[in-house]
Structure formats: C-alpha cells, structure tokens
Symmetry: C2
Subunit: 478 residues, 2 copies
C-alpha cells in the first residue's frame, strides 16, 4: 500500500476490487462500514469513503440510502445483458388468457409471495395517512359527495392537483385539460376508444404490458409490436421505418420505465417521436404510470412535454405510487378531450368522488413528494437486491434488464426454458410471477419472466428467489 | 242524505264526487281532514274514512302517507293518457349529443331545479348513516382496501349482500353469480360488449334511456326500437313479431319502471319473453335499477327470475336508491360471466373497495329496507304531486304517463311543441328538464319531456312546474 496520501484510497479500492473479482465478496453482500475499515486499517474515514466511491465508479458496488455499500451483480462476469429483441412486426390477433386474473386474485392471499402483480408492498404505502384523511372528511362534505353524481370530467380538486404537479415535469396544464378516470387502465381504454375504430392497428412496444394487449383484443384492434431497446426504449428512427411500411392508426408507448423492461426513452427520441407522429396525424397514447418512480436524479420528461399539437393523450394514476385500491387515475387527452368525455359519460357516467377527493388532498399536501422520495429510494434498493439475488441463484445463461425506474425486473431465461411451466411450479411453491409469454402476441418471450420488485426486501424474498432459481434450473435442465 | 247508516258513507262519497267533478275541489288539493268533516257534518270519523276510501276506489282521490287525502289529476277530464307509440322499427344510427353532460354538470348548481337528471333528492338519502359507516371502518381494514387491487369480480361482502337480497325477489343466487361494477352504466356497457360485436343490432324499448342509446352508438352497435306500452311495458307477442322480421343479436329491456315511461311488464309477458329469447339464443340484458322503487305492494319479479338457461344478464346499482356518488353497481350475467370478467379486468382491473364495503354494510344492516320503504312512499307522493301540478299548469292537450314506480313522469306536449326549445328556455329560467328528443334515434319524441320526480315536493317545485307550464304554452302557442 502506497504512503502517498492522495493515492491511499486508490490502493484500497484496488485491493477491494481484486477481492470482489476473486469472489471474496459475494454479489449483494454488504461491505464493511466505513468506521470498521477505518479502525482495522488505520485509514481515515474520508479515505475509505473515497475508495468506496471509486469502486462505485468502477461499477463494482453501489450505495443504498441509509444502508451502506453493497456489491453489485456483475454484468460481465455474472448474468448477461438483454439485447433488443427481433419481433415479428406484422399485426397480430392476441391470444386470450385468464392468467392475469389469477395473479390479481392471488393478491388476497398473504401466503403467496407477490412477485407476479405490479404494485408496491403495502408497507411502502402511506396507508395510515390516507385512512386518516378519509376519516377526517367532514360528514357534510362526505354526504354531498355520496348524494350526487360528479361532473363527468372528474373531481375539480384532483384535476387541479394533477395539473399542478404536471408543472413539475415541464408541462403547463390546467384543471380543464385533465379528465379523471378509474385508474390508468380505464384511461388507456377510453383513449384507445377515442382515437381508433374496430379493426384499426395500434403500435406498441415489445415486450408489452399484457393488460394492454388484452384490452386491445377486446376492442377489436390489431396490434403491431415494435422492438424496444431494453435500455433506451423507443428509437425514433426505428419508429419511422415501421411507419413507412405499415398502416398505423395510433401508438401506445411508455416513455418512462416501460412495463416490463423499465427502459427510458431519451428526450431526443421523445421529441422526434412526437414530431414524427404529429406530422403523420397519428395520435400517441402515453402510459406515464411509472414516471414518478425514477431511480435517477430527476423526473424524466413525458412525450406530452414535447406535444405542441395536442396529439398526445397522457394517462396515469396513483395505483403504483399511492393507493391501488382507490382506482384513481386520469388522462390529459389534448385535442381529443371532447370525444373522450363523451365516451366516459356513456361508460360510467362519472367516477366515485370520495377517493378522488382524498387523493387530491394528499397530492396537494406535500406529503406525496416526501412519500415519493422514500418510495423511490426503497424501490431502487429492492430492484438492486432482487437483481443481485437473481444473479446469485439463477443459471449462468440468464439475462436480465437494468431498469431505470419502476417496479420490474425482466428476466430472460436460457433458450427453451418454458416460462409457463416456471409460473405453474412457482405458484405451487407459493410464489407468483408473471410469465413473459403473455407480454406479446408472438411466442417471442416464452422463456422470460417478469418479477415485481415492489415487495420489501426480506429473507423471505431472498428465499423465494432461491426457490425460483431452483425451479428454473429444473425446467432448463441446467 | 240517507239515514241508513251503512250507506251514509256512500252518500258522502257521492256528494264529494259531484263536487270534485264540478271543480269545487281542484286536482292536487288536499281534502278536509276526517276530523273536520266529522265535526262539520255530524258524521262518525269511521264513516268519513269509508267515504274517502270509496272516492279513492272510484279513482278521484288518493291518500298520501302521513299527509291525508288529495284530489287526483283527472285522466278523463284533464290530461290525456299516453298510448303506445308507433315507432319506426328499422335499425338506426343514433345522433350524438352533449346534452346529457350539461344536465349532469348542472347537478353541481344548487340554483338549478333538478328535474332533468335521474336521481332522488339528497334529503331522501341516508347520508349521515353512510358517512358514519364510512368513518367507522377501522383504519387497518381501510388501509388493506387502499393498499391493493380487489379481485376483479368485486368485493365479496357486497356480492354476498346482492345475492342475499335477490332471494327477496324470487332469485336464488350466490355471491359467485354476482360481478360488481362502477354503477349500472358500467354493468350494461360490459354486458353489451360481452354479448355483441361491433355492427350487431340490439333491440330496446322506445322511448329509451338516452344513455343506453349513446353507449350503443359508442360501441358501434345498431339499435332497433320497439314500441313500449306506457302501462304494461313489453308485450311478448309484439316482440315475437319483431324477431320474426329482424335480425336481433341482443335485447336490452327494463321490466320494472322503465326509464322514461315507468311502466311495468307483466309476469306473464316476462316469462314468455325470456322463454322466447332463450329459444332463439338471444341474450337479454335486464336493467333493474328501478326495481326496488315500486309504488305497488310488492317488489316485481325480474326477467332473471324466469331465466333457467342463464341467458339473462341482470344489471343494477344503488345509484337511484342510496348513493349515486359511490358508483357502486353489479351484474348477474348468467352463463356469460367468464367473458364479462375478462372484459372487466381489461377495462378497469377492479372496482374501488371502500365504497363497495360501505354499501355492503348498509345493505346487510336492515337499514336499507327501512330506507327503501320510506323512499318509495316519498317518491310515490312526489310523482303524484308532480302529476297534479302538471295537470294544473300545463295546456289541456298535454298527456302524461302513470308510472308504476321509479323516478319519472313522461310528458307528451301538444303536437309540434319543440322539447329542445322548452329545454333551453327552462334552463334559462333555472329549471333542468330532459327533452324527449334524445330518447330515440328517431324524432318521434320531439314533443316530449321527462321530469325527475326524485326532488322533494315543495313550493319551489310547484312554482317550477308552473313556470314550465308557461314556457310550454309559449312554445305551443296555446
């Protein structure tokens, strides 16, 4: 070890790197605290800290807020990185399945490890605050909300809160631009019905959120799947190529933390995509439900941010961040508002008022931002811990996504491994996962699974991943 | 006056009948109390009571609970009775309109007299009890309902409560047969999507609930309108004739207190209709939202009651009886449950849990039946008072319905009177009504209006009807 003080931290980093590469520290393992190295090696805390930062820069370790430093899953030594898939891009009728319903029903069973559904752990939700807010509504106001139908466009306070928050990510919307809905699914369904007719073709990312595929089948729409870059989402150039050779009536894209890939489309591509689609008169439905769950330093811009023509219909909800059971969502449908309102009126008349009012109170209180900061940090840690566990327990030919935000890890098992078989065996073992085969109308993802990282990390989850790894090995014969 | 005591009451009845027919008592006027006649004429209270009962039998007066006896609107002398309309029965594309949305939005304005929307007065709703129930939910349970998605089929307690109540009107359903929805509109929309495809033809009653017509237009369905008997609803024979000459893919009927006519299809016809449709393999969507609001002595049977093949999809909600703002409804979709559940899953994932749970508590508590008894009596009185006011203030060539239950009076103005003009002028005068022109895809009801009798009777309502009468006279030039 050199005595030149300025290089002490490099020497420490070198020596620890060597230890990590030789496997003395396992992926996912917590490194010794700054203080303990300081005491053991006679180095200043500042030097140890610098060494850890250096190791983080080199990609070997990562810091988790309030928890310390952890050894990262090794991209080069351990599991592979996903590459963009080569999807058949011809319109397809989607096959039916009831699997999503089983996964939803399993949510009621605390004995099941919930890696299948898409939602954060109840421990991560501000349930007490929300319950208290609901109970604190004066009876007179509660009564008024129970006694009558709300206007079809939705609760004014919630619309105002949503418009106000949109300022935070670069949009200047007013309450008049917002229509509330029963969750993001209802919003996307209404938007699809607003901008398409039966028989039309909708372009989506591949792999896709299975719920959207099923929804489009129900609406008698054709689906065209576009390969999605596991890191950078949709490339404007690739989109243009597809549009040149296919009749597309609408697009349904997720700019931020796509389900299931967790990828993030660049601002440059977002801008180019919106301009391209506007030029061609193709409406873009944007699913922004994961937008607030970024692992980076700032809230990414939406497609809507670049929309000067009103051609983007942004959809979102509080289901992934606050209160899935409220069924509170919204859309900012641009120039399509009137038609969408008409459809909403005839679909459900109006939305329940109380849940919207409570959501509005929470969103406006400042508590939401504090909650989101905590939630993001927890989700980032959980995704990281889950990735580490997968790299420890799954076969070596497994590949996985490196999500930039959101709730999921997308895992590509070895060729030929049947994700439906994994799903069934896992369910028997008390673990719910999402088989990738339902994320496309092709069988392209038959060897993939999606894991929900919303569940708080615990020995039970680690054990679940170990069990999954065993099942995958059995299935793949590796 | 005869001295034979057994005929004293007849003599009194005769003399009062003569007074009513000569116009000494006006329609809607309250008759002297039993006690005051007893004192003035030296007759026993029992004799006066018998005379009033006799007058009621003869159709001249009616008793209103806790209010006394009132002179009825005279069918033969005053306004006419509606006859079955002669509707063009060829499939029609429905014209679009935003009028329903304006009426809904007007609900937020206490300055507007709400005769346009379809809901009971807030004063008639058990708002305090519902608010208290909601606030009394333990935070832990509330938190559980907020934290996760409910199963797609809906809240188990509510499904159980709905199934349990169905026993009361002759159905033996279990919670497994019920799917909860966001109100009756969502239920009917899901049912329509379950049993039809775009381009299919649906047979409905005429006049129809405008929301259903618009919904079907949105779903790219063709609508065939079938004349409805203003008293007896749908005749099985007439239905058979239509089915013999038209391709019909589904029916959407209201057996009890159709919106807007308030008519009641006989049990005999209900049975024959269900059998006829089942034989021909045509699903029947039943709107039973007004079924609990009967003015007679018992809850009428539903179509579902006669359904042995699972071909009836019953839809209902608590929006007209308890809590419009909850958006809590349900369907009992018979053999179509699986397909409907799939559509619900992809439309909205699941329904909000808290409103359903509160509704379930109220339905099971016995408080609902007490509330319904009171509500029915109040609505009966309000319909009667409204009918009387209309017969006093509208032109002599006005005809109106004699609803057997529900919320509405359907009023046919003189030939050529433009209901849209009446609607606009009334709205300027602070009164919301529903113009009949939107209750058909033809212009058959351009001279009709629907009045909501859910509003508690008061001098303000009487004054509103007087104003409406004036507007109608101006419009009709009579």
């Amino acid at each position: 070890m050199t005595t030149d003080t300025s290089f002490r931290y490099v020497a420490l980093a070198d020596s620890m790197e060597s230890g990590i590469l030789k496997g003395h520290f396992r992926a996912g393992e917590k490194l010794p605290s700054l203080r303990s190295i300081h005491r053991q090696m006679g180095l200043s805390i500042s030097t140890v800290y610098q060494a850890y930062i250096e190791l983080e820069k080199r990609g070997h370790i990562e810091s988790r807020e309030k928890s310390g430093f952890f050894v990262k899953a090794r991209k080069d030594h351990g599991l592979g990185t996903l590459s963009r898939s080569n999807v058949r891009t011809s319109p397809q009728k989607i096959t039916v399945n009831h699997l999503a319903e089983s996964i939803l029903a399993a949510l009621q069973d605390p004995a099941i490890l919930q890696l299948g559904a898409a939602l954060p752990d109840r421990e991560l939700m501000p349930l007490k605050q929300l319950s208290r807010l609901m109970k604190s509504l004066p009876s007179l106001i509660l009564g008024s909300m129970i006694a009558t139908y709300e206007p079809c466009q939705g609760n004014p306070a919630l619309r105002q809160a949503v418009a106000g928050r949109s300022l935070g990510h670069g949009l200047s919307m007013t309450a008049e631009d917002v229509v509330t809905t029963g969750g993001c699914m209802e919003a996307v369904g209404l938007c699809l019905r607003t901008v398409t007719r039966p028989g039309d073709t909708v372009l989506v990312e591949s792999p896709a959120f299975h719920g959207f595929l099923q929804l489009m089948e129900d609406l008698n729409l054709m689906v065209l799947e576009m390969p999605c870059d596991p890191d950078r989402g949709i490339h404007a150039k690739a989109l243009e190529t597809i549009l040149d050779s296919h009749q597309v009536n609408a697009c349904l894209f997720t700019a931020s933390f796509q389900n299931p890939l967790g990828c993030l489309t660049s601002d440059q591509d977002k801008k180019a995509i919106v301009e391209l689609l506007s030029r061609r008169g193709i409406p873009l439905i944007e699913d922004d439900i994961y937008g607030d769950l970024y692992f980076g330093t700032r809230r990414p811009a939406t497609f809507k941010h670049f929309d000067s023509q009103g051609m983007v219909l942004l959809c979102s909800s509080v289901s992934k961040t606050l209160a899935p059971g409220f069924r509170v969502g919204w859309t900012i449908p641009g120039k399509f508002k009137e038609k969408l309102l008409r459809l909403k009126l005839n679909t459900c008349l109006s939305s329940p008022a109380v849940n919207q009012a409570v959501t509005a109170l929470f969103l406006k209180s400042g508590a939401y931002d504090r909650h989101l900061r905590r939630l993001r940090s927890q989700l980032r840690n959980q995704v990281s811990a889950m990735a580490t566990a997968v790299s420890n327990h799954f076969p070596a030919d497994t590949k996985m996504s490196h999500p930039k935000g959101g709730l999921f890890l997308w895992i590509q098992l070895g060729p030929g491994t049947d994700s439906m078989a994994v799903y069934h065996k896992a369910f028997q073992a008390g673990i719910s996962v999402l088989p990738g085969v339902i994320c496309s109308s092709t069988d392209r993802y038959a060897n993939c699974i999606r894991l929900n990282c919303g569940i708080a990390w615990s020995p039970r989850v680690e054990e679940g991943i170990r069990t999954l790894g065993r099942i995958v090995r059995e299935e793949s014969g590796r």
